[in-house]
């Protein structure tokens, strides 16, 4: 199952001109607000008609302006989860969930009602009216409703944007569950790095209406040139295997043979996880530091030094765990005599590795 998109359209001063491919798994369209991500999803769903478009899923043409093909939204078999849940207020939760079923193509149901309801934890809500639901509950029902329409692909347009932090975590867990339990491909729009780290198998970076990069989260998030907010948001993503839990509450992980310590991390031993280390949380030392509280010290080689502004630079370090980014002042670069190829040590506090940015690898 793979979605190919080539869209060109003008909205006033804004020009959308993006080409990308979404392979199976979770593809995150990543970019700041106003970059055109939602317009792309809207075109894929068939809710807008771009001037030029060639969109196909698994070879099935959805929109080809050259051949004058436009498949209307109700025949695309793509279900949407919107930022606002858009539940039907005159129907009960159960009727909302079953809404798409009556129109769904006659074919073997990919997902059953009960497993979905259980995964989303909405069993107790089924006979409730929509009006009384909380924001998180609404969004879970919306996800269930979309899945139960038996779509070829799920489109999610910033589904967490309208929720508070605990609710975000709750829905993010739902999406992780979907990705792992049902093999349904998801096209997911987001401007949030934690969501990319936790969900994405593929990232497409959208900037000013163009797809400027595509790759794995490790490749994309570790590349400061592709990060929408530039260096201030930059950070490396590394893959690590969960190891032993220590008695003092730390969990030992192994990334490329180097130990990394995380506090209070609940995962199964042997599992792979993704860690994001923000560039501003990384220190660089020439010698292996002694008498320092930070636990994670990675041997590193300077690969590249990029100027950020008058005072700061962004240093890409090569470590056994993969590339790590460090945000360092020019003064420190000079004082440490850092240059490409110089060997040094990258230092990260255990507590600086944000736990909500730990995703299953």
């Amino acid at each position: 199952m793979s979605l190919r998109v080539d869209v060109r359209h003008r909205f006033g001063d804004f020009e959308l001109d993006a080409q990308f491919e979404a392979p199976p798994g979770v593809t995150v369209l990543f970019g700041r607000s106003g970059s055109g991500k939602s317009s792309l999803v809207s075109a894929v769903a068939g809710l807008t008609r771009p001037r030029h478009a060639r969109i196909s899923i698994d070879g099935r043409c959805l929109n080809d302006t050259e051949k004058r093909v436009f498949v209307p939204p109700h025949r695309r078999q793509l279900a949407c989860v919107f930022q606002d849940a858009r539940l039907f207020p005159h129907l009960s939760v159960r009727a909302n969930l079953l809404y798409g079923r009556r129109f769904a193509a006659v074919r073997p149901q990919a997902v059953g009602f009960d497993p979905i309801v259980e995964l989303l934890g909405i069993g107790a809500l089924l006979d409730r009216a929509v009006a009384g639901l909380s924001g998180g509950e609404r969004q879970r029902v919306a996800i269930g409703r979309a899945l139960l329409s038996n779509p070829d692909m799920l489109l999610a347009d910033e589904p967490l944007a309208a929720l508070d932090a605990p609710r975000k975590a709750e829905i993010l867990t739902c999406f992780e569950g979907l990705r792992d339990a049902f093999s349904i491909p998801i096209l997911y729009v987001s401007h949030s790095v934690p969501e990319v780290v936790r969900l994405a198998t593929t990232v497409v970076v959208i900037e000013a209406g163009r797809a400027v990069g595509q790759g794995t989260p490790e490749q994309i998030l570790g590349d400061p040139a592709l990060m929408p907010a530039g260096a201030s948001q930059a950070g490396a993503v590394i893959c690590a295997r969960i190891g032993r839990r220590h008695e003092d509450g730390l969990t030992e992980l192994s990334a490329g043979g180097t130990p990394i310590y995380l506090p209070e991390f609940y995962g199964t031993e042997g599992g792979m996880v993704r860690l994001r280390i923000a560039a501003s949380d990384v220190l660089v030392s020439r010698d292996r530091p002694r008498g320092l509280s930070a636990l994670n010290i990675l041997p590193a080689t300077v690969e590249r030094i990029a100027e950020v502004d008058a005072a700061a630079t962004l240093v890409t370090l090569k470590t056994p765990a993969g590339p790590v980014l460090a945000r360092i002042t020019r003064r420190s670069i000079a004082a440490l005599e850092l240059a490409e190829g110089v060997e040094c040590q990258a230092v990260v506090k255990s507590l600086a590795i944000a736990l909500d940015e730990v995703g299953q690898g």
């Binding site: 809710l47 939204p73 109700h74 949407c80 919107f82 858009r86 005159h90 129109f103 769904a104 009006a131």
Partner: protein, 230 residues
Amino acid sequence: MDGLSPQEWQAVFLSLRVAAWATLLSLPPGLWIAHLLARGNFPGRSLLNGLVHLPLILPPVVTGYLLLLAFGSQGPVGRLLEPFGIVFAFRWTGAVLAAAIMAFPLMVRAIRLSIEAVDPKLEQASATLGARPIQVFATVTLPLALPGVLAGSILAFAKAMGEFGATITFVANIPGQTQTLPTAIHAILQVPGGEMSAVRLVIISVVISISALIASEILARRVARKVAGE
């Protein structure tokens, strides 16, 4: 006060029958045109809008005369329909047509406003879940617009009950055929000494109108509560 004379009863029942048919028959095209005006984006939309509202701004006598020209036994539409046994001129069916045309703008206006109040995003969501446009309308737009549809129908019914000018011009004032409540009251007032009879009909007219109003209020409230999902 004495009971109603047979002729007065006739006028009352004919009025109710004419108003009910006029409302019922204009409901489907009313829904369609209101939806077209609320959601459609096509050339000639303003023209259609103007056409629908025409009976509201034209003198009713003019509307009645135009109906007579078109649907009369010598009119182009009238002659076309006559072989099928459909005759409007000077029949109660003509009273239905006149009442329906006069009430149509009020009905369309109320329905259109309530359709415009339905969030188009819900209709989009419905489409992405696989509903065809007609199914979107039937399962989302119509249920959510129901209070307005109800209000529009009651309004149309009341207007049809009271329609006078176009009716009397188009189908005249024939007792038992085309004499409705308002035209009956008008006829009675032309004859000296008919005041008592007129008062009886006026009271009946007021009672029917107020009952319709109260019924619509109760229904609309009940539907609104159901639509809001409470």
